[in-house]
């Protein structure tokens, strides 16, 4: 399909909205809901843990004689978490098995939600990269055309505009225009995703087949004696290690962000800046760059699909329930292990969210630069009125 520049500018003059935004918002929402669920589970488990172990003295006041009369004006019902904790505390005293099952179910619920969050995260990465690629396709020619028609003076003014508008980030933005940096960013991201994909493969394999603890549980469904069975401890460490590894893989992407130390770049002359812009655009418009971005998106999608496949084939609910049994002891629920797990995985997911923001920032910077170019270069203003004049000069693509 050939799209005229005038049509493109008309389209952009209305808004830069894209159907990809819908997918991105969906992924973000899934991630947020999963994290909120995990936090609610974590609070419940913490309260049950403290209630169960009789550690009320960790709170400031344990004056049981000041029992509060819950009649008016305070409504009669207390919150669910509180009731759960209190009920659970009683059950631990009276019927250990019920409380153990309850803790197991909470961990199962958490594992389920966290898988949802992980899938949402990778969908988000895939979507953002798709948007980046999409924007390059859309804006590449427009930006190239604008820059090619810029005088050195206009280029210098544009640079100063960026610097004034973004302060220190102006220099960062300048660094972004350096194709070598961009290329390195994409290369690092690609490598990190390769590592992550391999790590996840190994993780799933180890969960499903690797450790004796899991095969034992899958084969027999027996509840182990956590104090006396060394396999329980081994499995707990293994599970934690796996998540730690996962977090490290995600954090590896962080290395690719643009550090503030890069702001020591000297301001370029107009001619240098223009040449730099042209080099950047040449790189971004090249088939190599587009292939690179596509490949990264495919890797992100592959990871998301891998999780989805695993979920579908194995039955996530069933597996989550099985995994959670490793957190049930023979005598009472192992709240501590479950809480540690929640904490580690929640941290890992929050790190993932941070990485999403870096990727967004790359994309947003690209958009800001494109917008500045179009707002500051005569003849490149993105409004439908000038579209006709540009149409006469610009080639269709």
């Amino acid at each position: 399909m050939t799209i005229k520049l005038s049509d493109f500018i008309l389209e952009q003059s209305i808004s830069d909205a894209s159907t990809i935004d819908i997918m991105l918002e969906q992924a973000e929402a899934e991630l947020e809901v999963s994290i909120k669920l995990a936090e609610a589970y974590a609070k419940q488990l913490t309260m049950e843990y403290i209630t169960d172990d009789g550690k009320e003295d960790v709170v400031t006041e344990a004056d049981d004689e000041t029992a509060v009369d819950a009649t008016a004006p305070a409504p009669e019902k207390t919150d669910t978490a509180y009731d759960d904790a209190k009920d659970s505390g009683k059950k631990v005293g009276n019927a250990v098995g019920n409380a153990a099952a309850k803790a197991g179910n909470k961990v199962a619920g958490f594992v389920k939600s966290i898988f949802g969050a992980i899938i949402g995260f990778f969908k988000g990465i895939g979507g953002r990269l798709l948007k980046l690629e999409d924007d390059v396709v859309k804006n590449g020619d427009k930006v190239a055309y604008s820059v090619a028609n810029m005088s050195d003076e206009q280029a210098y003014n544009l640079y100063k505009t960026l610097e004034a508008k973004y302060g220190e980030n102006g220099a960062r933005t300048l660094a972004l225009y350096n194709p070598a940096n961009t290329q390195q960013y994409l290369a690092n991201l690609s490598n990190a995703l390769d590592d992550l994909s391999n790590g996840i493969d190994r993780w799933i394999d180890s969960v499903m087949e690797g450790g004796p603890i899991y095969s034992h549980l899958f084969n027999t469904g027996r509840v182990l004696d956590k104090e006396n069975d060394p396999r329980f401890k081994g499995a707990t460490i293994r599970f934690d290690q796996i998540f730690e590894e996962f977090k490290n893989k995600i954090s590896a992407i962080k290395l690719t962000k643009f550090e503030s130390s890069e702001s020591n770049v000297e301001a370029p002359s107009g001619a240098e800046f223009k040449a730099n812009l042209q080099e950047y655009i040449r790189y971004y418009k090249s088939k190599d760059a587009r292939r690179f971005i596509k490949a990264i998106r495919e890797k992100a999608d592959k990871i998301a699909n891998h999780f989805n496949d695993w979920q579908r084939k194995r039955g996530l609910h069933y597996e989550a329930g099985k995994l959670s049994t490793s957190y049930r002891g023979g005598d009472k629920p192992n709240y501590n292990a479950a809480r540690e797990l929640l904490s580690k995985v929640t941290n890992a997911i929050n790190d993932c969210k941070q990485e999403i923001s870096y990727i967004s920032s790359l994309y947003e910077n690209l958009k800001k630069c494109a917008a500045n170019i179009n707002n500051n270069v005569p003849g490149a203003s993105a409004n439908a009125g000038t579209a006709i004049a540009i149409k006469e000069k610009a080639p269709a693509y």
Partner: protein, 314 residues
């Protein structure tokens, strides 16, 4: 039902995370997704039907209509989804606030017992006012944590929450039945009136969404008698308003209200300025609602907890 103070304190100390947070996040996500759908459909609506545009190719793949009339229908339906999600978020936030404010109230009652003030018929005159006076009988109280709220902040939050809820529910034609004590504290007309056009929805929603905005809320470690009285009144107000919101949206009333509002979102082949205005502002309103929900749930609780902690050490 009697509640142990130690258990209340434990609940407060472990944070305000609750299942309602997930529902609120879900409603927020629904608003964001619907907003994106509106934007994509609006673009198609504005462009000539016979042009060749990148967004048409994308829309075909994603099932967003490219023909103007149908695109208008999709955009307006998205506004309907945003509205219903905002009502969901308001109700779920009310549930979160109710739970949290009830814990705060129970703790305040326990503090009252400690200083010899007991609850009776009139919350403000016979409990809140003497509570502040009794605690500060020897002058201002210095708290161990810098988490207390001055009167101006606690009152601002309670009034903003009350007005925000009343106006927002009015946008859906739902009246909120508030106790007289709350009406005395916050002067607000609770009658919803008839909602028979999208313009009326937008006007009342705008009042509600803006009313939820509270700006920055500072904290202090110094409490005066009136600060304590006003904090108690603010907690009492929020608990009752939240309860009233939940009751007003109980049963079929929420469903009926959403159906009524959605009937104004069929588009008729056009996207009105009003639909555009709702789509443009609703994310901001959601952000205001989210902030006030968090502030009541954690800010009030932190303030009450700090008070309890200090009084226990005296």
């Amino acid at each position: 039902m009697a509640t142990k103070l130690s258990e209340l304190m434990l609940d407060m100390e472990t944070g305000d995370a609750c299942m309602e947070d997930a529902y609120i996040a879900s409603a927020k996500g629904k608003i964001a997704v619907s907003h994106a759908i509106f934007e994509a459909a609006y673009k198609n609506y504005e462009l000539p039907d016979d042009g060749q545009f990148v967004c048409y190719v994308e829309s075909d793949q994603e099932g967003i209509p490219t023909e103007s009339e149908k695109a208008a229908g999709t955009a307006c339906a998205a506004v309907g989804q945003e509205l219903s999600a905002f009502l969901d978020a308001t109700v779920e936030t009310a549930k979160k606030i109710k739970t949290s404010a009830e814990k705060d109230l129970k703790t305040l009652i326990a503090i009252g017992k400690k200083v010899g003030v007991t609850m009776s018929e009139s919350f403000d005159k016979e409990f809140a006012t003497p509570l502040g006076q009794e605690i500060c009988s020897e002058g201002r109280l210095t708290l161990s944590a810098n988490k207390f709220m001055k009167s101006k902040n606690s009152c601002k939050i309670a009034k903003a929450y009350t007005k925000g809820c009343v106006y927002t529910l009015a946008a859906f034609g739902i009246s909120v039945d508030l106790p007289e004590a709350v009406k005395d504290f916050v002067s607000v007309d609770t009658a919803a009136g008839t909602v028979d056009s999208i313009k009326k929805v937008e006007s009342k929603l705008s009042d509600g969404g803006r009313a939820f905005a509270i700006g920055d809320v500072g904290t202090t470690n110094i409490a005066t008698a009136s600060d304590i009285t006003d904090l108690a009144l603010a907690v009492y107000t929020c608990a009752n308003v939240a309860d009233a919101v939940i009751k007003a949206c109980d049963g079929s009333s929420k469903k009926d209200a959403i159906a009524n509002v959605n009937s104004f979102c069929n588009g008729d082949g056009k996207i009105s300025r009003t639909h555009h205005a709702i789509n443009g502002d609703i994310k901001k309103y959601m952000s205001n609602l989210e902030k006030i929900g968090t502030t009541v749930a954690s800010g009030f609780t932190d303030a009450v907890y700090a008070l309890m902690e200090t009084i226990s050490k005296k």
